[in-house]
Amino acid sequence: MATNEHELEHLVSRKYKHGFFTEIEADTVPPGLNEDVIRFISAKKNEPEWMTEWRLKAYRHWLTMPEPKWAHVHYPPIDFQAISYYSAPKRPEDAPKSLDEVDPKLLETYDKLGIPLHERARLAGVAVDAVFDSVSVTTTFKEKLAEAGVIFCSFSEAVQEHPELVRRYLGSVVPARDNFYAALNSAVFTDGSFVYIPKGVRCPMELSTYFRINAANTGQFERTLIVADEGSHVSYLEGCTAPMRDENQLHAAVVELVALKDAEIKYSTVQNWYPGDEEGRGGIYNFVTKRGDCRGANSKISWTQVETGSAITWKYPSCILRGDNSVGEFYSVAVANNLQQADTGTKMIHIGRNTRSTIISKGISAGRAQNAYRGLVRVLPTAEGARNFTQCDSLLIGDRCGAHTFPYIEARNPSAQIEHEATTSKIGEDQLFYCLQRGLSEEDAVNMIVNGFCKEVFRELPMEFAVEAQALLNVSLEGAVG
């Protein structure tokens, strides 16, 4: 944080000149948001006119919107004029020179998570040239994808190389005016990922942001767009179990998924942004809009998320089940420890006939944290034969935390079948004693019981991710019992 504050101070002390963007050479704009800043970002990225206009429209609408207050979270007001909306990747000389300069606590966590040594430097932001292993992996990876005709690149690159695809699908799932943070993201997003899977193609490997090392420092207002054309299939992994160093407090990402006829998208997230310290100081505000559109018949979108990080999490990965027989799934583990606050869940909007959705949510609260599930299942009159099953369980560890459940069910078709079940309980003393009697330590016993509680969700994660997620859960709940 120190460097960033210093930087900001420096920038703030500079005099703001109206219309600076034509004169300015620096790679960073001073804090504040206005149309010039947006034009500056767009120009920096060499965007076509329509893209600039799209951003400006979003911005103008954002100005008219009130900040949402309905979530079960509390935080001091955000000063949107105090944020700097564009800064180029950090210069190597500002970054730590070696792991010796990195916070030892961070390194300790990497150790516990079993992160390979050569990866730690990259994650900690050490100024190394691209790590050798990753480069070679990336190269073979790119070749393989190109062979299959899959487009996987940064969002900026896609605007340049595939403008017709971007223009066609951008904002088609999450309109720029959708909500306060989506509008803000639409105005100022800097980069993100773009994926297009052509007709009938089964993506030959799991796509992971992890491999896309060219898009560093895009965390704050990330924009992701994935389009699965007819009959295609893709599995996308986002995030990383290791705590990423990031100095931006507000994250407002937008993710849009489009699944055409017979297509399937599986989107897995592990979110472990900095949660703040034990006293709740610092930490990321993670206000994300994620939505998938099952546009074609028989399409399927599946969200799996493991949320352990961030001071505040506010996200509802949703599915619009437009196509007949389309399927939406949401599997979530959300952990809140210390003073973390999470308000997360999903929306399943049933429009097409025989659409089906499944929601499995596991919330774990510890310390003084507040963890809320908020979900909506809406069945429209057109959704003949729609089915939903929701299971929503909360586990409490310690008597100073909270677990809340706010499910909205709106049914307007008599053939719909909707089942919602929720339970809240603490870790059973019986279970704990049983494990201790078999010789396990209390910590191991808690980890084992918690992992068992989350199993239905972990099962949905790709194998390696699942193993990492379990380790992550254990680290996140460290010190919660005792």
Partner: protein, 250 residues
């Protein structure tokens, strides 16, 4: 091996054990019988270190150590095993996973190497055969959806794998039909050895037809009121507990 002296314990402010004294040597099998509410299960829970039981006075010495000073998991690692009257369900946690974690925790404590998956499975398969358990048990959640008999067999399987020095069987026969009881008894009998002590807590004597004890104690109103050999159990069966309670004036 186990020396309990004048043990007083209470639960929720109510005295349950009121001066219980008992000695068990290695190689012996003891049966503790008694009417409902006498404190049989409390004794088993206290020995295993369950929270919520207040030790008012008395001592428990186990292999020369003060057992009451140890945490539950330390007792387990030192070789105390409790077969629960009501084995606990832990959803989502594989049976085999718990077993492996438990065995390795105990081995580590003893200064032995942790077993790899292959060596571990070899032991488990062998013991499962003994308990006539289907291999599919291993991949089910711990006791999740098990029938009463399956749960009890699972307890003895765990005991067979963990090879404790002192096994406490709490009403292991309750809820078992005769065939299941035979399997359980066979499992227990196979674990009888000169180094191991077994303490069975039971209300009925029928289990003792299958696991023949060296000593039988009667626990009534928080104390051992009478000890004897096998024939004491038969006498109890015939005459019930009332005569005894009257005879000893409790």
């Amino acid at each position: 091996m186990l020396k309990i002296k004048d043990l007083h314990a209470r639960v929720d402010g109510k005295d349950i054990l009121k001066g219980l004294t008992l000695e068990v040597a290695a190689g012996e099998v003891h049966a503790i019988m008694g009417p409902n509410g006498a404190g049989k299960s409390t004794l088993a829970q206290v020995l295993a270190g369950r929270e919520g039981y207040e030790i008012v006075s008395g001592s428990v010495e186990y292999l020369g150590q003060d057992l009451l000073e140890l945490a539950p998991e330390e007792r387990a690692r030192e070789g105390v095993f409790l077969a629960f009257q009501y084995p606990v369900e832990i959803p989502g946690v594989n049976n085999v996973y718990l077993l492996k974690a438990a065995l390795n925790a105990i081995r580590k404590h003893r200064g032995e190497d942790e077993l790899d998956a292959y060596a571990f499975m070899k032991i488990v398969r062998e013991k499962m055969k003994l308990m006539q358990m289907d291999p599919s048990f291993l991949n089910r959640g711990v006791n999740e959806g098990f029938s009463g008999g399956e749960k009890k067999r699972n307890e003895i399987l765990q005991m067979a794998v963990l090879e404790p020095k002192l096994a406490l069987l709490d009403e292991t026969d309750s809820g078992l039909d005769i065939d299941a009881m035979k399997v359980v008894a066979e499992g227990v009998n196979s674990l009888r050895s000169p180094e191991r002590a077994i303490v069975m807590v039971t209300h009925y004597q029928r289990l003792l037809d299958h696991i023949v004890p060296d000593v039988v104690h009667v626990l009534a109103d928080g104390r051992i009121v009478k000890s004897g050999d096998r024939s004491l159990a038969l006498e109890l069966e015939e005459r019930g507990y009332d005569w005894l309670q009257k005879a000893v004036g409790t």
